[in-house]
């Protein structure tokens, strides 16, 4: 068992949650999302984001519209759908529970 695999598995779920959270604050285009995620050091390379966005969109959680850009090709602006909103609320709850659980267990371990 490789630590990279485990890390990737952990990050995978969290990444989707974070993208949805970021988009909950408003309409954004991929570069903005990337900037935020990069700030938080959640992703290293931009290429990771595009397949995720497409998948979330195909799942009906996201939608997008085209907007002309002054400096290049037209941009896709993503936002949450109502389904995505509900999905995010559920994830928020789950995340709270999980982080509580993780905190509890890891602290216990630390005390030993």
């Amino acid at each position: 068992m490789k630590v990279e695999n485990t890390k990737a598995q952990m990050r995978k779920g969290v990444l989707e949650y974070c993208i949805l959270s970021v988009l909950a604050q408003g309409e954004l285009y991929p570069s903005d999302i990337i900037a935020k995620l990069k700030d938080a050091k959640l992703i290293v390379v931009e290429g990771t984001l595009y397949p995720l966005l497409t998948r979330l969109k195909d799942a009906g959680l996201l939608t997008y519209r085209w907007e002309e850009s002054r400096s290049g090709p037209p941009r896709k602006y993503y936002k949450l759908t109502t389904v995505g909103d509900k999905f995010l609320t559920e994830l928020d709850q789950t995340w709270d529970d999980l982080s509580q659980a993780v905190k509890k267990t890891t602290r216990k371990n630390a005390q030993r």
């Binding site: 490789k2 990279e4 695999n5 990737a8 598995q9 990050r11 995978k12 990444l15 989707e16 991929p30 570069s31 992703i43 290293v44 390379v45 931009e46 290429g47 990771t48 984001l49 595009y50 397949p51 995720l52 966005l53 497409t54 998948r55 195909d58 850009s69 400096s71 290049g72 090709p73 037209p74 941009r75 896709k76």
Partner: protein, 590 residues
């Protein structure tokens, strides 16, 4: 100065340097492969390309006009390597196994079409069998063992040399992947590198060059679905023809080798006189080794070139490999040269046979006491057991003498009242002088014991004279009213003796024949002669009966007679069918 290309990235036009373009193209191709089998791949690609276009625009910032390799490297640094993308994906095994995952879900556009190569990593001689092993996914060791059998059969060597020439060496990593039928992508090429099998430079670059036309081809294939079906059918037919050509070539090669080196001379004769080979006999024809060798090589070239052509055609159809151009160019001149050499030696040889000469001696023999002279054969010291009618079996080389078992004995009417013996020694040469020398050098043997003439069934001449149609003919002259008796064993020497009953030589033996003005006449007429002389009508009649039956049903004629005239083709067939029998009956008389 650098060459630039124009690239359309997501609707924006960029001037891009050639090396930068190749790197970018390869990069995008890898991403495509990474998402092979993923829904929405095109959309992901479009998004990524849009982002790349954006990054380029940002980087050029209106001040520069050309995208350089640095820009591309920078953008790739931002976007990340394709195998890292899978981090957020559902792929099995996650990031660590990205390369393998991509290989399994391979894409039609880049999946390696399996091709036959020589394997330089697994070679004993030329890597041919290693390559074939990779092609059919069989352990080359097994193939090598099978090949050894072919080698002993003879044509394995020729086949190997042709394959060696025709099949290209898997010199590059891409070739090596094609050889194993693996997908040609950057990951696999890297892997081949890692296997330590590789010292090729710019491999990925070459791959990207080739990938572009292949992608175009693939898309048109999808459009021509039925065209593809037709193509596959044609390919199958082609492979079948290839197999047939290969089989024909192999068969001819075996025949050639058996003919050249075989101890069992299945073509010409199966029973040459002891110790004498076909080569020895062939050498008898030529003046010297030079001439013989020229002819030898010319014949081999003449026969081998078409065989190689057949084998090559078969291999190229079966495995889709092409020989280098010099291969075809060199075969044709070799063949033409062979024809020319053969023509020259042929003319030379014909010259050696140009003039005939005959030395005739009339020998006064002791007249027999009675009315009858006996003709018999001396013991056959050289060719006992050989077939007299197969000339090749009647040739033997002993030291510096050549021995032929061809002397013949004939009988004709004497001009006076005495028995005579005439001996005619014949030979040929390039002129009267040489022909005379050849004829004079022939030695032969006959004896007289009381009233019996015994002839040796062989003659000999010096080896240095070569074979120049030397022969000896004995003619026994019988006076009118006197008789000749052919003793048992004389059938070995008597040849085509004319008689009033048209009896064959072997049938004349053991009987007494009297010379009459119309020819030799038997003293008593045995019943057997008539039988043997009767035409093979019985067979024909029999066949006719069965023909009539068939004809009657086919033609529905009112009677057998009306059907008869239409039987002509079947009739002709019947005669040709009984041909061998007729020939066999006639043969001893020729």
């Amino acid at each position: 100065m650098k060459k630039t290309l124009t690239a359309n990235v997501s609707g924006t036009v960029f001037h891009i340097e050639e090396d930068a373009y190749e790197t970018l193209h390869r990069y995008l191709g890898n991403i495509r492969n990474q998402f092979a089998g993923t829904d929405g791949r095109d959309e992901i690609m479009a998004d990524i390309e849009a982002r790349i276009a954006e990054l380029f625009t940002e980087r050029l910032d209106g001040r520069r006009q050309v995208v350089s390799i640095d820009d591309v490297d920078h953008v790739i640094g931002i976007m990340g390597q394709p195998e890292d993308f899978s981090e957020g994906e559902d792929q099995e095994g996650g990031a660590g196994a990205g390369g393998v995952g991509a290989g399994a879900g391979s894409d039609d556009q880049t999946r390696g079409r399996k091709r036959l190569f020589r394997d330089p990593d697994d070679q004993w001689v030329g890597g041919v069998l290693g390559g074939i092993g990779a092609y059919f996914n069989v352990d080359p060791l097994i193939l090598r063992l099978i090949y050894l059998v072919f080698l002993f059969l003879g044509f394995g060597f020729i086949l190997y040399v042709i394959l060696w020439i025709v099949v290209p060496k898997a010199g590059t990593a891409a070739d090596r992947l094609n050889m194993r039928g693996e997908e040609v992508n950057v990951e696999n090429i890297k892997r081949v590198f890692a296997e330590g099998a590789e010292t090729v430079t710019n491999e990925a670059r070459e791959f990207s060059k080739r990938a572009a036309p292949r992608a175009r081809k693939a898309s048109s294939d999808v459009l021509n679905f039925f065209g593809e079906g037709v193509r596959l059918t044609l390919v199958a037919i082609g492979k079948f023809i290839g197999l047939a050509l290969l089989a024909a070539g192999a068969f001819l090669a075996i025949m050639l080798i058996v003919l050249l080196f075989g101890k069992f001379n299945i073509i010409m004769s199966d029973n040459l006189a002891g110790g004498t080979t076909l080569q020895d006999i062939a050498m008898l024809m030529f003046e010297g080794h030079g001439q013989a060798n020229w002819t030898w090589f010319a014949i081999i070239g003449l026969v081998l070139v078409p065989i190689i052509g057949l084998l090559y055609g078969g291999i190229s159809l079966l495995f889709g490999v092409k020989a280098p151009k010099w291969f075809g160019w060199s075969l044709t001149p070799i063949w033409v040269a062979s024809v020319i050499v053969l023509a020259i030696t042929g003319v030379q040889l014909a010259n050696q046979f140009h003039t005939p000469d005959t030395i005739t001696e009339r020998i006064e023999i002791a007249q027999p006491a009675g009315q009858v002279i006996h003709i018999a054969s001396l013991a056959d010291e050289h060719f006992a057991g050989g077939d007299r009618w197969n000339e090749l079996e009647m040739i033997k080389i002993e030291g510096d003498r050549v021995i032929l078992g061809w002397p013949t004995v004939d009988v004709r009417a004497s001009a006076d009242s005495l028995f005579h013996l005439v001996i005619a020694r014949t030979a040929r040469g390039n002129g009267p002088k040489e022909a005379g020398q050849h004829a004079a050098a022939i030695t032969h043997k006959f004896e007289q014991q009381d009233s019996t003439l015994l002839f040796a069934p062989y003659l000999s001449f010096p080896h240095q004279h070569r074979y120049r149609a030397q022969n000896v003919r004995y003619i026994v002259e019988i006076p009118m009213g006197k008789a000749v008796h052919f003793d048992r064993g004389s059938e070995r020497v008597i040849y085509n003796i004319q008689n009033v009953t048209d009896t064959y030589d072997p049938e004349m033996v053991g009987r007494t024949w009297t010379m009459t003005p119309s020819g030799l006449s038997p003293d008593e007429l045995p019943a057997r002669t008539k039988e043997a002389l009767a035409p093979p009508a019985g067979i024909v009649e029999h066949e006719n009966e069965s023909d009539e039956r068939i004809a009657a049903t086919v033609w529905k004629g009112p009677s057998r007679r009306s059907a008869a005239p239409r039987r002509t083709p079947a009739h002709a067939e019947t005669i040709s069918y009984s041909g061998p029998n007729l020939l066999q009956l006639l043969r001893p008389r020729i």
